[in-house]
Point group: C2
Chain length 532, copies 2
């Protein structure tokens, strides 16, 4: 690119075609990469120069570097063997939408800066609201409406701020220290971060306890008691967040009862359905959001399980004026006729980014629109159902193998499971599963993650990558079985040697707490046999 032609149509065409082929080839070969990157921290600094080049380099040089230096450090989220976190779907339609957004590179902070951007966002979110059968109050044709945020974290932050400012307008701004937020201990930590940002006192953030008796859903009594206690102490309950499909185990909070309690106490009721919301476009799963009628706001991530490339988090509110009151700014040079006549929506007032400068508005609606049109709702439903069916099959496999157990009920496409320890020792079982996780992820054949439920270390197998088929699930299960068998036989051998897990060894305690790996233990420990 010797001569600088920063936006030359023919250069874009030539290099664009080259890049399309590069990316298509990546997907063709995606199964050849280790799913979880196997590099060591700091690997890339060794490979790249210390400063930016003064003279231009060729596209081929850059593509070669991506192949040889960048891709080895990539964890392949789109790999069919990626089962670690909830998915972050890519699709052809989503990709085309991203290309188009990047191509036009329009910026839509106010309606006037790109009318199509703002209007398409309102229309597409109305489409999606209808597909989810959300109550009409969430449609943009009334007092409510939808807005696309970057992530569920931003979504919960903007509604928390709207709720905070609404209550402070009533009780006076010096009352921040008395505001209380409620959620279950399974709620996404994004809410805790939002509370930190909003200045809610840490001691007024109520993580209400759940356990296996309710399958990790929040019990209405627990919410109701906590609110009463706080009111009695002179505090001001103002925000409650329920979850449909928690990250750890896809628990579903009972929305209808919780909503009643929340409403009767004047709290803002937010529903986080970031992952599981997508499933609710299928009639047979729609019941999971029964009770959404009582909510002030509802959120689902189209970039998770809805084939829309990252990022695209859909947030609906019943009362859009609450958002605008918290988040609007109106400097002189953004004033324009359309906005001042109140004929249009300025999405800058619905989100965190910018006073006015720039926003993501509209860039994201294009890709969601393309996903809905190029696939259609029927195909999207089939896509969701297929993943849930694959997860059901994996659950069946776990149930058939007595060495394993399912650790929480499966509802959507996540299976929580674990290797059972023959010894009646929680810590030993946890360590066993920690080792199994590391053993399977180190193969590069698949990538799974973990969580902790009632002090038990639990493995998470989340189906959701766009290329995953039954054979990938079966292969993953095979690797898991093989590694489990190896671990258990090593254990048996060490039991036979009567050395066993000696918890007296100080280094071993680090290991049990997950702070060092087995391989390091042997280096640290003075008596290797003691640790075997």
């Amino acid at each position: 690119m010797d001569e600088l032609k920063p936006m030359d149509a023919e250069q874009l065409r030539e290099y664009g075609h080259q890049m399309v082929d590069f990316i298509a080839d990546y997907y063709k070969n995606i199964e050849s990469f280790p799913v979880r990157s196997q590099v060591q921290p700091g690997y890339l600094r060794e490979l790249l120069p210390d400063s930016a080049p003064v003279r231009p380099e060729s596209l081929q040089d850059v593509l070669d570097d991506i192949q040889s230096k960048i891709l080895p450090g990539v964890t392949h989220w789109q790999s069919p063997e990626f089962f670690a976190y909830f998915p972050s779907n890519s699709s052809v339609a989503g990709f085309l939408g991203e290309m188009l957004s990047a191509g036009i590179n329009m910026v839509g902070f106010s309606w006037i800066t790109s009318p199509a951007a703002t209007e398409l966002e309102m229309i597409v979110l109305d489409w999606l609201a209808k597909a989810l059968k959300l109550p009409d109050q969430f449609l943009s044709t009334g007092q409510g409406g939808g807005v696309i945020q970057g992530t569920a974290s931003e979504a919960v932050l903007v509604v928390l701020l709207a709720a905070r400012d609404q209550v402070l307008r009533r009780v006076g701004k010096d009352a921040t220290g008395r505001l209380v937020v409620y959620c279950s201990d399974q709620t996404h930590s994004a809410l805790q971060k939002a509370c930190k940002i909003a200045g809610i006192y840490p001691e007024n953030f109520r993580l209400l306890k759940t356990d296996s008796s309710t399958d990790y859903a929040l019990s209405p009594e627990s919410l109701s008691e906590a609110i009463s206690r706080d009111i009695a102490s002179g505090l001001i309950p103002f925000f409650f967040c329920a979850t449909v499909g928690t990250t750890s185990s896809t628990a579903v909070d009972p929305l209808t009862e919780l909503g009643k309690i929340s409403n009767s106490n004047g709290l803002w009721f937010h529903i986080d359905a970031a992952y599981a919301g997508s499933a609710c476009i299928c009639p047979e799963f729609r019941h999971y959001i029964h009770g959404v009628e009582g909510a002030n706001s509802f959120n689902m991530n189209a970039h998770k399980w809805f084939l829309t490339n990252f990022d695209c988090s859909a947030l609906w509110v019943k009362d859009r004026s609450a958002l605008v009151q918290s988040l609007s700014t109106n400097p002189e040079f953004l004033k324009n006729k359309a906005s001042q006549d109140n004929k249009v929506v300025d999405y800058k007032d619905w989100q965190i980014p910018l006073g006015r400068r720039f926003s993501y508005v509209a860039r994201r609606s294009l890709k969601l629109w393309m996903v809905l049109r190029l696939y259609g709702l029927e195909n999207l439903q089939a896509y969701i159902r297929n993943h849930i069916e694959l997860a059901r099959k994996f659950e069946e496999l776990v149930n058939l193998d007595s060495r394993f157990e399912v650790a929480a009920p499966r509802r959507f496409s996540l299976v929580c499971f674990r290797l059972v320890s023959a010894r009646n020792d929680v810590e030993h079982a946890n360590q066993l599963n920690r080792e199994l996780l590391e053993a399977v992820n180190s193969t590069g054949n698949l990538f799974i993650s973990h969580t902790v439920l009632s002090d038990k270390y639990v493995l998470r197998f989340a189906v959701g990558a766009p290329l995953t088929e039954e054979r990938h699930v079966l292969e993953a299960w095979k690797t898991l079985q093989e590694k489990a068998a190896l671990l258990l036989s090593e254990l048996k051998e060490s039991d036979a040697n009567k050395v066993g897990w000696n918890l007296e060894c100080e280094y071993l305690q680090y290991q049990v707490r997950g702070e060092v790996s087995v391989s390091n233990i042997h280096v640290m420990c003075r008596d290797e046999r003691q640790c075997k």
Copy 2:
């Protein structure tokens, strides 16, 4: 797309090539579109169906709709005749980077979720810091480092939160109501929004006045006096934001003196160089950020004037632990060996989005890396210099035409100018320029914007689109001259009729306040001649 193959390599290849051609053709024909969209509010809802399709549609159908329904509602930010806001650059390299990010669609919230993502971001921001000759303390090799945020608004919010929490740890969290923030009245409104979010009391947000005597830069005395006054009243000054290249007129605050005052009073000193920062890679413009040594944080938007597609806002801090203390969360299922050994940076703790879920990390570094490599620093400097030279030429044209005046000194690529009124009447002159703005923007030939400086309505001509050449500037000036001539001759005629601007007419008052346009006045007014 009848059969759902959400990420089929060959389908991606076929449709990807089709989309590349669509986008290349868009750039080929970009000059044929009206720069500012000319549609009316609500236009798109008339054109699109009420709900999402159940069955898939073809890519050709969608592309046809983009051409016929979406593009008319787009304001063309990449048009060579776009002179309205600071640029939001697109480039071939930036576009390729966006394609690649969307293609791999990796998510890098923690190091382990994509090592290349995090490491590339650190390396590329070190490259850019060196190109800007930032002090070593801002490099990731020490206690500081850079992170890519979405926008300058997010950048100022994260440092404000870090500063707030740092001071509250010292003085106790009940002191929020006494915290004071300082900036000039030319500072981006994003800071005000950040203060609202962070719970800073509105009465403790000090917008210090500037005027033409300092070319709208903040005077050190004014900062110093304000701080002393607040300390005397028992308040706690804690955050100061200076700007290099203000939005209204590209004023540059005197960093060295302001930094000394800020430092000696223990304030967090942030520099917002969102637009003008890019120019500082040229040695001859580097002096504008002299004094950055004294800052705690520094921000520039690569997505503005640095050929990196939206969004990509580079933020550097000297003390990264302050950010992490404010923004980290560490739920169980994100724990991993690399993070716990403190061998790696987890960018989730440097930004707003996510507790843990998802972040933008790394997606953005790829495109910045591609811009730096495919263009090289020399070309990027030439690109910046060319825009500044074009703005200088425009300024020259304005100076040569006695009907116009330059309203503030030009430093970078923005010219603030206005039509001069023969009458000695500020409101009349303002109205004249308001009409001129609307007249030129309605032609669709160019798009400019406005601001208000010392109560004067001023037109902004910002050079910065990647395709802008000298001929576009000359054509824009021609349209401006023509429309000005027309307006002035209409005015002369009405003066001759001795009717003039009758401020007694109630409708005309709306017009003077900019609330209705001239064409509507005639419809509303009962006596048309009175308003002429």
